[in-house]
């Protein structure tokens, strides 16, 4: 099964029954898989007229209670950003899959890239926090898609799966666990019936985790959702104060839970003086390079960012205490590297390529050898 299929199957296994999308290489197979599968399962597959419509439909479906998703690549993600912001503001859980290709612009439609990392974080106007994961195998495309849905519902927010063409199109064994073994975190839902007088407070956060329960359309809560700055009732409130309260909470509900959200994998970090940081398909090359370097006795480890956002700042700061050099391997001209530099307080060695073909383990190995003074 290739990564795109695995992603679609992951979504389906997670209970996703609504897909709205617009074809774009190299994510199209996800849509095609849904087109095949939703009719069998009584779910909704709809091909929209563009990506603007796709994400809007996904948000609508989420508001109606569905686990919903869309899939695209860079150019489509660029078109979805305004409504990604709406999803953040309305706190509508959903999953947006970006199978990255060579960019900017039309770039290399059929070839790999990893240069949408910062876009996923900062692409929509205004300040918001986002959750993003990056699979490094078809198996993980499955697993992380399930996790994306769970995180989306857990934090009532859009979540991004940042795949790449290599993972999307490569075939590898994927183990699909039985549905009942898959973790499923449900959306927090209203626990009280619709109020008889006065509006239901659909944006009143649970003080514990800042996440408000989500009433769905048709349940009688008579909710108002607006992309305008709003109070806890959802009513527009045009004041700097209300804005600060709302926007801060939207950020905090994610940032405060960075530990819960973060997924990392490490290889040989215990004794490492040099740490390679990588993610997605590039992390495969990084692992090979690290293995080979360790075989040569170099104290190097790999930190694989399974979650990219929120950035695991604390982990990096802690690592920086005991590590000499960070090497960041990524198929862009330096995006995660900037974050690593910021958190570690020092320049990192970048192994970069603009995209089109995977970074070869040898390139990373060379960087390790240089850093180790060999």
């Amino acid at each position: 099964m290739h990564g795109d299929e695995a992603c679609a199957e992951g979504a389906i296994a997670a209970g996703c029954r609504f897909f709205a999308g617009y074809p774009i290489t190299p994510s199209t197979e996800i849509a095609e898989r849904f087109a095949q599968r939703m009719p069998e399962l009584g779910g909704v597959f709809i091909q929209m007229e563009d990506e603007l419509a796709s994400i809007a439909a996904v948000l609508g479906a989420s508001a109606a209670g569905a686990r919903a998703m869309t899939a695209t690549s860079g150019p489509g993600l660029s078109l979805m950003l305004e409504n990604l912001g709406l999803g953040v503001m309305l706190e509508l859980p959903c999953v947006i899959v970006d199978i990255q290709r060579g960019a900017p612009s039309t770039g290399l439609p059929t070839m790999v890239g990893q240069a949408d990392v910062m876009q996923a974080r900062w692409g929509s106007h205004g300040n918001y926090s986002i959750i993003a994961y990056a699979p490094w195998s078809p198996q993980e495309a499955f697993d992380l898609t399930v996790l994306c849905f769970n995180m989306a519902d857990r934090f009532r927010t859009p979540v991004v799966l940042l795949g790449d063409e290599v993972i999307g199109h490569m075939m590898e064994r994927v183990v699909i666990p039985p549905a009942e073994q898959l973790p499923r975190w449900e959306r927090k839902r209203p626990t009280t019936p619709p109020p008889t007088a006065g509006p239901y407070r659909a944006f009143e956060p649970d003080p514990d985790d800042l996440v408000p329960p989500l009433p769905h359309a048709g349940e009688g809560y008579r909710v108002h959702f607006t992309g305008l700055t709003h109070d806890e009732r959802g009513y527009p409130d045009m004041s700097g104060e209300a804005h600060h309260v709302l926007v801060t909470r939207l950020n905090e509900k994610i940032d405060r839970h960075v530990e819960e959200i973060t997924r990392l994998e490490d290889y040989g970090l215990e004794d490492a003086r040099i740490v390679v940081v990588s993610f997605g398909c590039t992390a495969r090359s990084a692992r090979r390079a690290v293995r080979e370097a360790r075989a040569r006795g170099i104290p190097v480890g790999l930190l694989r960012l399974v979650s990219l956002w929120p950035f695991p700042e604390a982990v990096l700061r802690e690592l920086a205490q005991r590590v000499d050099t960070f090497i960041v391997a990524e198929m862009n001209l330096g995006q995660v590297r900037l974050e690593v530099e910021r958190c570690s307080g020092r320049p990192a060695v970048g192994v970069h390529h603009a995209g089109g073909e995977m970074i070869h383990p040898e390139q990373i190995l060379q960087a390790i050898l240089r850093s180790a003074g060999r």
Binding site: T25, P26, P109, T110, M111, E165, V166, H169, M170, M171, E172, R173, C281, R284, S285, R287, R288, R291, M358, H360, P361
Partner: protein, 172 residues
């Protein structure tokens, strides 16, 4: 074990399926790790098509084939283009009637397309080649590949393809 395999031909020959069958057999029934990649894109249309497999007994990090240990060439263009990318000592399997190998090259040949035409279904040349591959390479059990055929194809296509597999496997 770390084996790189490239299957190549032209669009419409079912090169991708051949790769899937071998990958499946290796991964699900051969206990190996297997990764397959393909060249995508409009550039591939009508022209060359290839499937690239890495089989190994350890996790496969870098998923691409760099210097094939085994090359299966089902078109002249594919042979000419990819033979130089393979190891000099690589095992090279060709469709006799579609490929004329370089003078100095040692190859294993099977007239897969003709055999397929003989079965009345040109389209199964790929599976005949898979059978041939299985026998020539020896590291996949015939049963594993048969199982892969059963699981990868729609039921009504299975008998025909199992037959093609047998023809390839048993070809001398």
């Amino acid at each position: 074990m770390y084996t790189e395999i490239r299957l190549a031909g032209f669009g419409g020959q079912g090169i991708g399926l051949a790769g899937v069958l071998l990958g499946r057999a290796a991964a699900l029934y051969g206990g190996l790790e297997a990764v397959m990649t393909q060249a995508y894109g409009p550039e591939a249309r009508g022209g060359a098509s290839s499937a690239n497999l890495v089989l190994a007994d350890e996790p496969i990090d870098y998923p691409f084939v760099q210097q094939p240990d085994i090359l299966v060439a089902m078109s002249q263009e594919a042979y000419t283009k990819f033979r130089p990318t393979a190891k000099p000592e690589a095992l090279v399997l060709i469709d006799t009637e579609l490929v004329t190998p370089f003078a100095e090259d040692v190859v294993q040949a099977i007239p897969a397309t003709r055999l397929a035409e003989g079965m009345g279904r040109r389209i199964v040349a790929n599976v005949i080649m898979v059978g041939f591959f299985t026998r020539q390479t020896g590291f996949l059990a015939r049963e594993a590949v048969e199982q892969a055929v059963r699981e990868s194809l729609r039921p009504k296509l299975v008998p025909l393809n199992l037959k093609a597999l047998a023809i390839g496997y048993e070809y001398e």
